[in-house]
Amino acid sequence: MHGRVKLKSTAQQEEEKRKEKEKKLKIYLTTRDACFNKRKEGVLDEEALQLSQQLLASNPDFATLWNYRREILLYLETVRSEDEVQRLYEEELNFLETCLKMNPKSYGSWHHRGWVSSRLPRPDWARELGLCDRYLYHDDRNFHCWDYRRLVVKMSGVPIEQELQFTDRLIGSNFSNYSSWHYRSTLLPLLAPGSAESSSPQRECSSPTSSPQMHSHRVCEERLLKEYELVQNAFFTDPNDQSAWFYYRWLLGRAEREEMISCVYVSREGERVVVAFSRPVNALSVGFLLVVDGQPLQVDWRSAHSCVRHSPVWICELPPGTISDTSNEHNLTVTWTEKRTHRDCALYSGRAESWCRDSATDLELFRSELSVEKSSVLQSELQSCTQLLELEPQNKWCLLTIILLMRALDPLAYEKETLAHFQILKEVDSMRSSYYSDLCSKFMIENTILKMEYAEVRVFSLCDKSLSTLCHLDQLLLVTHINLSSNQLLRLPPQFAMLQCLEVLQADNNIIEDLEGLRHLPRLEEVSLRNNRLSRLSDLRPLTTCPKLTRLDLRGNPIAQATSIRSELADMLPSATDLLL
């Protein structure tokens, strides 16, 4: 049509582009070869800098070239005056900025910048910090830049308060940002460390030799209250944003228990010592020392189950006759040399067994896992979350946080509400219902352990509670009777073998197919596994290692239908005289 502007056709344009590309490629390859040749010949001159610069400008992720540049620069450093070196490195920084514009997430460029900055005779840290500000403003999740920022902050001693304000700014403009929240969590403890005494609820312990020290990467309370407010602003504004909730979890605290020996158990009859640690350890690689009546003993430690290398529970057999005489009193000491901690245990005359331990109730073990804060603070946090839940009854983060707060405050008193909240959670977030089941199981087990210890019994009973998994089994070391009937357990895991005192096991009406944990339980006599899913004889093989097993109830299992099962079982488990099929 008349007057229309004429345009190049697409074919024309593409041809032009192709030619352009070809030309560029040719130049690039020639320069690359020239550069490599020079390096091969060990030439460290300005021209090589020039050539590699051309290449890196178009492809800043060419690691070899950055290395070559560093070689050249290191050499030039030795032959130039300080001012010249300064200028050289400043030019390098300018060049790097163009590379970063090309690719703000170039590993090579950021790394090289860090290298140059640390070699610069008179570094301009303000400029570097400004650069970080700029890049993080545009992409607040550029982790290269976060790394570089930490370097700059460390090298130049930027005040922590100033960095904290920087995260304030980033969070203010967009609070869906793990990086900023995380940075805060590393800055706050530096800025306002909470003293260990005030923030960790210490109790006098029964055993004075090993007081439970809480490690505290914590923050003073005044500061914490401000943080609570900030993070609440975030989750009230958008309760579906998880970064704020995660930070909140961090704020509520997760104290680490001190590494220690939590229990020593000795059985006279089996001439056996069982030691429980506060965390899984590998006894074969760390040093334990067992002293009986002042005599160090060379013993072989084994974990409760051979397949578990790192275990919180370790067992050793004493040389025959060491403690077998019931009229003798024995004093045992287990020392964890590496951690400089030990625990004593006295086996009085006439006693068949003895133990020394810290109880879970004394240590507030399960509570401190969530929080070391004052309960008044937690109470008001719980109120805020409950308020939010009224507005957002379906919000999973809120529900979960409420559960955790309730546990931190008083696990037993809130048990009913906790279970109700779990029920809603499984409905609103059905994708994660198994996770919630497992978590709920864990809390139920913790509660049952607490109840058992308050009652000072060695019976653990948790029936009909939809348990889907077993945990904290190291805490059940002393339990003699356990009832896990009518749950949804699929297996008795290897860790189950830590129940070294177990005599009677009831686990009817589950969906158990695997008995791997019923191994080497020296005192196990009765096992009831009615209505489970045991189908093969080999599934029962672990029981052959339990010498005292006399009663085994397998009614309602597929295996009970098998022909000649009775005789096969009798062969396999000769001690089990009372077989119910």
Binding site: M1, G3, K6, L7, H138, N142, N174, N233, L391
Partner: protein, 677 residues
């Protein structure tokens, strides 16, 4: 000058306002031969932005009723042929009335003030009321007369209809306004001394404003661009965005309980807000989330479709705080608005949020007047012919078909065309069928500090002031900082807009006196926190409502573009431009993307060749376009990166850095209109 224009065009456009310019660009883009003329010496008509001195000249012009020059050819009889008749266009511009100026800045005697004439008489307002007043020959106005001596002759003649209805209101306002005015005069009386207080930081004098006048770009109409409005979409789609640069409105404020508060509208705002309780934050976010796709949840509002938005808000368990924010600052509607429309307005606001920033609005650097010019430029690039200070005197109508065959310009030349587009102001009175038109009240203030100072001086704020008295209208204020290139550093340019019920000054004075101090010279300590008005201009502008074609008795191929409306956005103008375009060329696409300059093939001569040499883009012009390539990229990158930023795409954010680097470069000078003869 324009003596030898070609005698034939496809489309002749008279007036360079936004709608006309978009039509001209769209037509030229698809190959129509376009002649674009404007009687004025500047682009954009009532959409224009002026330097301070330019504004003073504009005021002078308004006083003369917009009548340009008398030496027009009036004899066109011989240009008419058999079976044709002439339709003479109006030469009077009546769209601006009730012009009043006040100066509160000290006038230092040592400074030269050649151009200060207009305000020499101040604070006694300068009367420049357009034609009516010119006829009434009474230069006085109510504010000038002390109380008691009120309404004088002359006023009655002004816009009878409006004035009668609003007679009482101005009277009231007058009392509120006159103390300040008379005070201003008093101080002016002892002008030379001007109480120079030693504590005073340097005051900005009137002379200084005049001297720095070129730093001002004062918009006649105060509007913003909704980030997802039709205008932004059009700018992007057509690539016209390459000619302009924008700044984000940085905050939205509202006047509540006697003070200004920041309106939390984005997620980040709600998060950071200190005025809202946690629960309020949740309630607000919940409601906003609902509004974003309210159509999906009809159960929430269906019972209220027949009732007001205000009633609806009452039922939503929202606190007063939030109701205020929602109604006045987010929906920006009067309380009696129906629920459906209130929700629609809220949704429109929210959808624009987050595209470019935490507020929904963009403002063009160098003022709103840039936008029509950008489209003119695009028109010129594609061969449109431009001629300012040139107008069409009459239309040549074919008696039989009733169509417009040609126009006769102010030089008496006959130019044939198949379509004629004109600004509403040129439509002769007898061809208007509509009822009396409505008016907008406008105020322009130059102030010495921001209404709500913050860490940064460079805030670009939109402020909504709900009706101070029942029945009054809400006033919309935009406060521009110097980085928008619309005012000199150290000052703020404040635009006030509301639907008129009386004169602009009467309508706006109550709000101005609440928010600002109008005392000249040094201010008392009590007023220290309020910004001082250095200079103020008030005027009424015709409020262009969207016309149905039936509002005018004109041929079918004559298309009328009303001037700016009183709304904040520009959708009406763009929608109308598209409509008119489709009436002119039904089968063509509206503003398809303009090609990149490097893809245009240049032949020996420009596409329109041997014209009169007026407004015809030479190759140099196109070369200049090519130089703009970088801006294009910036714009594209900006758009893309910001789009992605919303969704947190890392990839998008990378290019964001680039965009920022580019934006950090000193901004280019305002794009000059293609030709100025």
């Amino acid at each position: 000058m324009a003596a030898d224009l070609p005698g034939e065009f496809d489309v002749v456009v008279l007036g360079t306002g936004l709608t006309e310019s978009v039509i001209a660009a769209a037509c030229s883009r698809v190959g129509q031969r376009v002649l674009h003329v404007d009687r004025r010496s500047y682009y954009a008509g009532n959409w224009a932005s002026f330097t301070f001195n330019g504004l003073l000249s504009w005021m002078e012009e308004c006083k003369q009723g917009g009548q340009s020059s008398a030496e027009e050819a009036t004899d066109w009889g011989d240009k008419l042929e058999e079976g044709e008749e002439a339709l003479v266009l109006s030469v009077m511009d009546t769209s601006i009335t009730n012009l009043e100026v006040f100066c509160y800045a000290s006038e230092e005697p040592e400074e030269e003030e050649k151009e200060a004439d207009a305000s020499r008489h101040t604070p006694a307002p300068v009367q420049a009321e357009g034609e009516q007043d010119a006829q009434s020959d009474s230069p006085t106005c109510p504010q000038e007369v002390p109380e008691g001596d009120a309404p004088q002759e002359g006023q009655g003649q002004i816009d009878g209809l409006l004035q009668d209805g609003a007679e009482e209101a101005p009277g009231k306002d007058e009392e509120a306004a006159s103390p300040e005015t008379s005070q201003a005069r008093e101080v002016q009386g002892e002008e030379p001394s001007a109480n120079p207080s030693p504590t005073e930081v340097k005051k900005i004098s009137y002379a200084k404003i005049v001297k720095e006048g070129r730093r001002f770009n004062i918009d006649l109409v105060s509007k913003l661009l909704y980030s997802r409005g039709l205008l932004v979409d059009l700018l992007i789609k057509s690539n016209v965005s390459r000619y302009a640069e924008f700044k984000n409105v940085s905050r939205i404020l509202t006047y509540r309980d006697g003070k200004l508060e920041q309106v939390p509208c984005s997620r980040a705002d709600v998060f950071g807000s200190k005025q809202l309780t946690m629960v309020e934050k949740r309630m607000l976010m919940k409601f906003l989330t609902f509004c974003l796709d309210y159509e999906e949840h009809p159960e929430e509002y269906l019972d209220f479709t027949e009732r007001s938005f205000w009633d609806f808000l009452q039922t939503k368990k929202l606190t007063d705080n939030i109701q205020h924010f929602l109604l006045h600052s987010i929906a920006m509607v009067p309380p009696e608005t129906r629920t459906g429309e209130g929700l629609r307005s809220t949704q429109y606001f929210l959808r624009s949020l987050g595209r470019y920033s935490n507020t929904p609005f963009l403002f063009p650097i160098y003022g709103l007047g840039e936008i029509p010019q950008c489209f003119c430029r695009m028109c010129a690039v594609f061969g449109g012919t431009y001629c300012l200070r040139h107008s069409v005197r009459c239309l040549v109508l074919d008696k039989e078909s009733g169509r417009c065959k040609a126009v006769i310009d102010t030089c008496g030349q006959r130019i044939s065309c198949s379509h004629f587009v004109l600004e509403e102001g040129y439509v002769p009175e007898e061809r208007r069928k509509g009822a009396a038109c409505r008016q907008i009240s406008r105020g322009v203030l130059i102030t010495d500090r921001s209404l709500l100072p913050s860490e940064t001086e460079q805030q670009l704020s939109l402020i909504t002031v709900p009706p101070l008295e029942p029945g009054a209208a809400a006033v919309r204020i935009t406060e521009l900082c110097s980085s928008t290139m619309t005012c000199m550093p150290g000052t703020y340019l404040v635009h006030l807009t509301c639907p008129a019920s009386g004169s602009a000054h009467a309508d706006l004075a109550p709000v101005v006196s609440r928010l600002f101090t109008e005392t000249p010279g040094d201010t008392g300590a009590a007023d220290a926190e309020r910004p001082a008005v250095l200079w103020a201009l008030y005027f009424n502008m015709r409020n262009a409502t969207v016309p149905s074609t039936a509002s005018y008795d004109l041929p079918a191929n004559v298309h009328v573009c009303p001037g700016p409306d009183g709304l904040l956005g520009n959708d009406h103008s763009i929608r109308l431009a598209e409509e008119v375009f489709h009436r002119i060329v039904p089968d063509e696409e509206f503003c398809p993307p303009a090609p990149n300059p490097e893809d245009i093939i240049f032949e020996g001569v420009g596409p329109q060749g041997e014209g009169a040499g007026i407004g015809e883009p030479s190759q140099g012009e196109d070369a200049a376009e090519a130089g703009q390539e970088d801006d294009v990229k910036t714009e594209a990158a900006k758009d893309e990166s910001l789009e992605n930023a919303g969704s947190g795409e890392a990839a998008g954010q990378e290019s964001g850095v680039e965009a920022q680097e580019a934006a950090a470069l000193p901004s280019a000078p305002p794009p000059t209109p293609p030709t100025d003869e």
